[in-house]
Amino acid sequence: MPLITAGGPYLGATRWLYIQLSLEYRSIRDSLTGDYMVTYHACVTDDDQVFKALADPTRRFLLDLLFQRDGRTLKDLESRLAMTRFGVMKHLKVLEDAGLVVTRRSGREKLHFLNAVPIRMIHDRWIDKYREREVSALLALKAELEDKER
C-alpha cells in the first residue's frame, strides 16, 4: 500500500480514533477472563462489523479521505489508491455494510459520505461501560483497603 505510507505525517482523526479504539478494545479484552471468546462468538453484533471494517489500513485511509472532504465519488477515491476500481469498491462495500459510509445519488453520480454514528455508539455503549466498571471496581477496592487500615 505505497500510497498510504506516502500520505506521510497526516494522522487523520478517524485513524487517531481507530488507534484509541483498538488500544481500549485490547485492554478491555485483556482485562476480561477466559470466557471472552465464548461471549464474543455467541453474540455477533454490528460492533463486530465496525471493528472488522476498521481493521484494515486501506479502509481507514478511505475514511480519512472522507473526513478531509465528504461526499466523494468512486472515481475520486479510486484516484488516491494504487488499487483496481473493483478493489476499492469491495472495501467501500465493507465500510457501507458496517454503516461507516453512506452513499447518496446525485444525478448520475454516487457520492460517499462518512457516517461517524457507529464509532460514537461503540464509544458510548462499549468503551464507556467497561471503563466505568473497571474504575468503580478500583474505587471499591480502594475503599475496602483503606477501611481495613483504620
Binding site: A13, D46, D70, G71, G99, V102, R104, S106, E109, L111, F113, L114, N115, A116, V117, I119, R120, M121, D124, R125, E132
Partner: protein, 163 residues
Amino acid sequence: MTDKAATILVFRIVIKASAQAIWDAITKPEWTERYAYGGRAHYELKGGGRYHHEASPEMKSFGLPDKVILGEVLETDPPRKLVQTWHPQFTPDMIAEPPSRLTYEIAEGQGVCTVTITHDVTGAPMVAGMVPGGGDPAKGGGGWPWVLSDLKSLLETGARMPT
C-alpha cells in the same frame, strides 16, 4: 462535478422501533425532552410551518435564549420524511450564519428502521463544526452522532444512556 461550495453531512443509525415511534420522538415535545440535550421541539407539521426548539431549564441556566433553535418546515411526509431549516441561536456567530437545511428520512424494513439525517450546512461553518460531534456531550459537543445514539437507547430500552 458537484458544487464545491456545498457542504453536506450525513448521519445514519438503525433503530429497532416503528417509523411512527421514531417520527414522534423527533417531532413531539414530550419525546424530545427525554433524550439528548432535552428541550421541547415545537413543529407546525406542514410546508411553510414554523419550528422552534424550546430551551430546557438546564440550557436556560447556561444563558441560552428560550427559543434555542429556529426554523421553518419545508416538507413533511409522516412518518417517513421531514425537511426543515435549522438555525441554532447558541452564539452570536451562529445567529449571524444563514439557516442550514436539515432532512430526516426514516426507512422501515425487516423490523427495524434506518434513520438518516442529511444536514446541508453550506455557508454555515459554525454549525458545520458543531453537528459532527466528537466532543464531550456534557459540554455540548455530542453532535448528531450522540443525539442519534441516545435516541436509539431511549426507543430500544425505554431509558437513556447513563451519562
